[in-house]
């Protein structure tokens, strides 16, 4: 059993190589400002730290170690070159307020990234600032509201979202002071156009849409939807989380959207880091350009005729929705995206969406042939697709959760479960383009084997995982209810023997 770092802490243990000599006591800081006891941190040796966290790391499933078909998350291979080149000393050691002279390399990369993202989105202008997709959404909706406000129409405070939309969409709308109205999906997985028509009106701020949608299908009537919303005076926001399915093939701008965010950590292969960081740059059409969050990289020509890059802030964009990040957003993440795009180029990007789609459709076809229930059997899969385990649940008394937990024991990370909630007992499966045919086939075999187990030994699933087979770290299925009922969120035991 591995312990926490606090269990292994001991009084008076210290790493003097990291402890600066204490100066003379800080007399001129009055007593009342000072803490009375040293901060409660673990006292462990450097070897203990290295060993503890190295072993902790080994308890994770990750793209580097397992197939990780987590739908909507695009867990593809993150080229190490992106990571290594974005963390070169010149980049990581620069202070955000260092003068622009000292950041021309970085600024040039970001400027070019702005240009590339504008082209990929089919949009006029780009701000790289948002630090994740959800913040990109915030920027988008805030810009839509700024636009209405500027037109003297601040009553438009209702945001439309499909009922299958990702949780960040309605949550974002709410953070921007909008009420949310959900539009139903029809049985084909497209938005119900009639319902949309009835929903729009003078109150409509806009519509937020993911396309391909979170149902794993391409919203075919997107242009009609744009017409309806635009005709009603609303604007359209494109949630770019699923761009890996269509990058280089379809552009949100061409579909009629007014704003879009990218999830660089999905489409452009930034590692997800156990939860982040990512980046959520936004691209907008001409009419929203004045409202982009600042700062933005601008290019000018200096007195010697050379290109010169600098941050441009509120002075240049007086109508901006303002600042969303303290400095310039997740620069290091954006550099990773830049490197990735320089390695793929336009053709590579097209290939990525092509093969992401091929892998998803192949996996869907194989699972369907194996008798699994595909949520939208009449539709092509995009880069992901949904199967419903409702039949298995009804027949064997197992749930999608049970299935997912058992998959871990087969050494696969589980797909996304119970999202979108429209489809009962669903798995949202996104294999990504970087996985091999052999891996997909092994996954299909595991799915079939588990279904067989569901029939013969449902308890095997219901109690899975028994212990993910990792030394010292194996735990069986964890009790989520207990965790929420009496939250134990920090270590409270005494921290030394």
């Amino acid at each position: 059993m591995l312990e926490t770092i606090f269990d292994i802490s001991r009084d008076e243990r210290r790493n003097s190589q990291h402890i600066p000599e204490p100066p003379a006591p800080a007399e001129e800081i009055p007593e009342r400002f000072l803490r009375s006891a040293p901060p409660p941190l673990p006292r462990v040796s450097e070897l203990q730290v290295v060993r503890h966290y190295t072993r902790l790391s080994q308890l994770n499933f990750s793209v580097d170690t397992q197939f990780y078909p987590l739908g909507s998350c695009t867990m593809k291979y993150n080229p190490r070159a992106c990571h290594v080149l974005a963390t070169l000393p010149g980049f990581v050691n620069r202070h955000p307020f260092s003068n622009d002279d000292s950041g021309q390399g970085m600024l040039r990369c970001l400027y070019e990234l702005q240009e590339m993202l504008g082209e990929i989105a089919g949009m006029r202008a780009v701000s790289l600032i948002p630090m994740a997709g959800a913040q990109g959404e915030f920027a988008g909706v805030a810009m839509i509201r700024a636009h209405h406000r500027a037109r003297g129409d601040d009553a438009r405070r209702e945001m439309l979202v499909p009922d299958a939309s990702h949780g960040t969409n309605p949550a974002t709308a709410a953070m921007c002071g909008c009420t949310v109205r959900e539009i139903p999906t029809n049985s084909d997985g497209d938005v119900d156009l009639e319902a949309l028509r009835q929903a729009v009106g003078k109150q409509t701020a806009g519509l937020m849409l993911t396309n391909p949608s979170t149902l794993g299908v391409f919203e075919r009537q997107v242009k009609r939807m744009a017409e309806i919303v635009h005709a009603a005076g609303g604007l359209l926001y494109y949630d770019g989380a699923n761009l890996n399915a269509v990058a280089g093939r379809v552009r949100p701008g061409d579909m009629g959207f007014d704003a879009v965010h990218f999830n660089t950590h999905k489409t452009f292969a930034t590692p997800h880091g156990g939860g982040g960081p990512g980046a959520g740059p936004v691209a907008v059409s001409e009419r929203l350009a004045p409202y982009l969050p600042v700062p933005i990289v601008k290019k000018s020509i200096d007195d010697k005729g050379r290109e010169w890059f600098s941050w441009s802030g509120e002075e240049d964009l007086p109508d901006s929705i303002g600042r969303l990040a303290t400095f310039a957003g997740n620069v290091g993440v954006l550099l990773r995206a830049y490197v990735y795009l320089r390695m793929t180029g336009a053709e590579g990007l097209r290939r990525i969406s092509g093969f992401a789609t091929l892998n998803a459709n192949y996996l869907m076809a194989r699972l369907r042939k194996a008798g699994f229930t595909v949520a939208f059997p009449g539709r092509r899969a995009t880069h992901e697709f949904i199967i419903s385990l409702k039949p298995e649940a009804d027949a064997c008394g197992i749930s999608a959760l049970d299935f997912a937990k058992r998959l871990l024991e087969y050494d696969f990370h589980a797909p996304t479960i119970y999202f979108p909630s429209l489809v009962p007992e669903c798995l949202l499966i996104e294999p990504t383009e970087t996985e091999t045919l052999e891996t997909l086939d092994r996954f299909v075999e595991a799915m079939i084997a588990i279904r067989r187990e569901a029939q013969t030994d449902p308890q095997r699933l219901q109690t899975a995982p028994h212990a993910v087979p990792i030394p010292g770290g194996g735990v069986g299925r964890l009790d989520a209810t207990r965790a929420a009922r009496k939250p134990d969120l920090i270590w409270k035991e005494k921290m030394s023997r």
Partner: protein, 454 residues
């Protein structure tokens, strides 16, 4: 094909299984008029060529000797921090939805929450927000939601980082919250507690207290906290985590302590990186727990009684609660918290305490050396931590430009964020600056100030 493993034979097998002749057929549902011809992007390069390109660009970015703070601080980062945080299993996993397959990240986050709650003397902490500025925005929204005076005023001192205040503005604008700026005492460079009296009885929802404040000055946190609590307001402490090695933690301010503590985690092992990725931390007292935004990890058990860790209190979050969630945050700054947990473990209590003390001592020494230059004086009289505002005998902008050409990033020009401060310079010296560095800066500044304009 870069990053695509498919062989021609694989492709045939797969297409056959799907029943289509070619990959393009899979896009048949997309209306043809939407399909775009090829994009105008720079041509693809191999890794070697991109490597050379990026190395050339990185080499043109040199920071020089840095005396800027202003929200981002150069600290010693033990080599082990990123050697371990960069391991593939931390780097390439996602938010730990499947707890049993993510015990590494989860256990680490539990430890991280504990460390942050311990540093701030709070009851709980979350698993990170984007950065300090947006973290403060979330803290303000959280305070507004939790306050005894819903719709009341949010008091935001002008001694808070100008960019933080801008972010709070942007994040609250569409919420119809009344955010009120509190002016500072021009002599001390901090909020004079009397300034607050004019808000007495005026339904103050929350007061944000920066410690140290943007000028590096220490606010009278006990008095301010007691005042706010008496008004029934939520107190949000905005703190520098390294300073907490030395300074009283927000949870212990005044009689009752602050309710929420937040700040930027960058000083805890995160490189400067032109501003990001950093991470925002957010901790709170028990009663506010269910108003907290972001991921929270809890300890629980499996059927055999093994201890395990899991994302918990998810009913606060967007993926469950949608429009009623405490925030829209989904992806956070996970990997940065991995680094921070490792960093704090390596430093330990004495490491953090001494680092804070040395930062203070170095800044004090720096200020002594710089104010020995004729015409250079301290702008404010309040006690400071590791930043000090100076007044120069000349406008700051050209001085900084000249210093930069001589390899010194001399500080933050306060005129950027404050009116009428064109001759004010905010300087910082952390434990990374040696005595020789300070002397070099003083000598160079002295020289620059004496050079004839031209």
């Amino acid at each position: 094909m870069p990053f695509i493993p498919h062989t021609p034979a694989d492709i045939q097998t797969m297409l056959q299984c799907i029943g289509v002749p070619e990959v393009e057929s899979l896009f048949g549902e997309i209306p043809t008029d939407l399909r775009c011809p090829s994009l105008d992007l720079p041509p693809a390069l191999g890794e070697m060529a991109v490597g050379r390109l990026m190395r050339d660009r990185a080499e043109s970015d040199a920071n020089g000797l840095c005396f800027i703070g202003a929200g981002a601080y150069e600290h010693h980062i033990p080599a082990a921090v990123w050697e371990i945080a960069g391991r593939g299993e931390f780097l390439t996993s996602y938010t730990p939805y499947q707890a049993e397959a993510s015990q590494g990240t989860l256990r680490l986050l539990y430890e991280f929450q504990t460390m942050m709650a311990g540093l701030t003397a709070m009851d709980a902490g979350n698993a990170s927000l984007y950065d300090g500025g947006s973290g403060l925005g979330e803290a303000v929204l959280m305070a507004a939601r939790s306050s005894a005076h819903p719709g009341g005023k949010i008091l935001l001192p002008a001694t808070i980082h100008p960019h933080y205040r801008a972010v709070v503005q942007a994040m609250t604008r569409d919420q119809d919250l009344e955010v009120v700026e509190i002016p500072f005492d021009p002599v001390e460079g901090r909020i004079h507690p009397k300034t607050l009296n004019r808000f007495h009885g005026q339904k103050v929802a929350a007061l944000v207290i920066p410690q140290p404040n943007f000028f590096g000055v220490l606010e009278e946190v006990d008095l301010l906290t007691d005042w706010a609590k008496a008004e029934g307001a939520i107190v949000v402490g905005l703190v520098n985590p390294v300073s907490l090695g030395l300074l009283k933690p927000p949870g212990l301010w005044g009689a009752q302590g602050a309710d929420i503590a937040c700040g930027d985690g960058q000083p805890l092992g995160i490189p400067l990186s032109s501003g990001g990725p950093y991470f925002g931390f957010l901790c709170c007292k028990q009663p506010l727990l269910r108003q907290m935004p972001g991921r929270i990890v809890g300890r629980t058990e499996d059927p055999q009684g093994n201890t395990g860790f899991i994302l918990t209190l998810q009913a606060r979050e967007q993926h469950i609660r949608r429009a009623k969630a405490t925030s829209n945050i989904c992806t956070n700054q996970g990997l940065m918290t991995v680094a921070a947990a490792i960093h704090l473990s390596l430093l330990g209590p004495e490491g953090l305490a001494n680092t804070a003390a040395v930062c203070h001592a170095r800044t004090k020494a720096l200020v002594e050396k710089l104010t020995a230059i004729p015409g250079v004086t301290r702008l404010f009289s309040g006690p400071f931590f590791h930043e000090v505002a100076l007044k120069l005998p000349k406008p700051v902008a050209p001085v900084l430009a000249r210093l930069a050409r001589l390899g010194i990033q001399g500080g933050y020009r306060l005129g950027q964020g404050y009116a009428q401060m064109d001759k004010a310079l905010l300087v910082c010296a952390t434990e990374t600056r040696t005595e020789a560095d300070l002397d070099l800066y003083a000598d160079t500044l002295s020289w620059v100030l004496n050079v004839k304009e031209g």
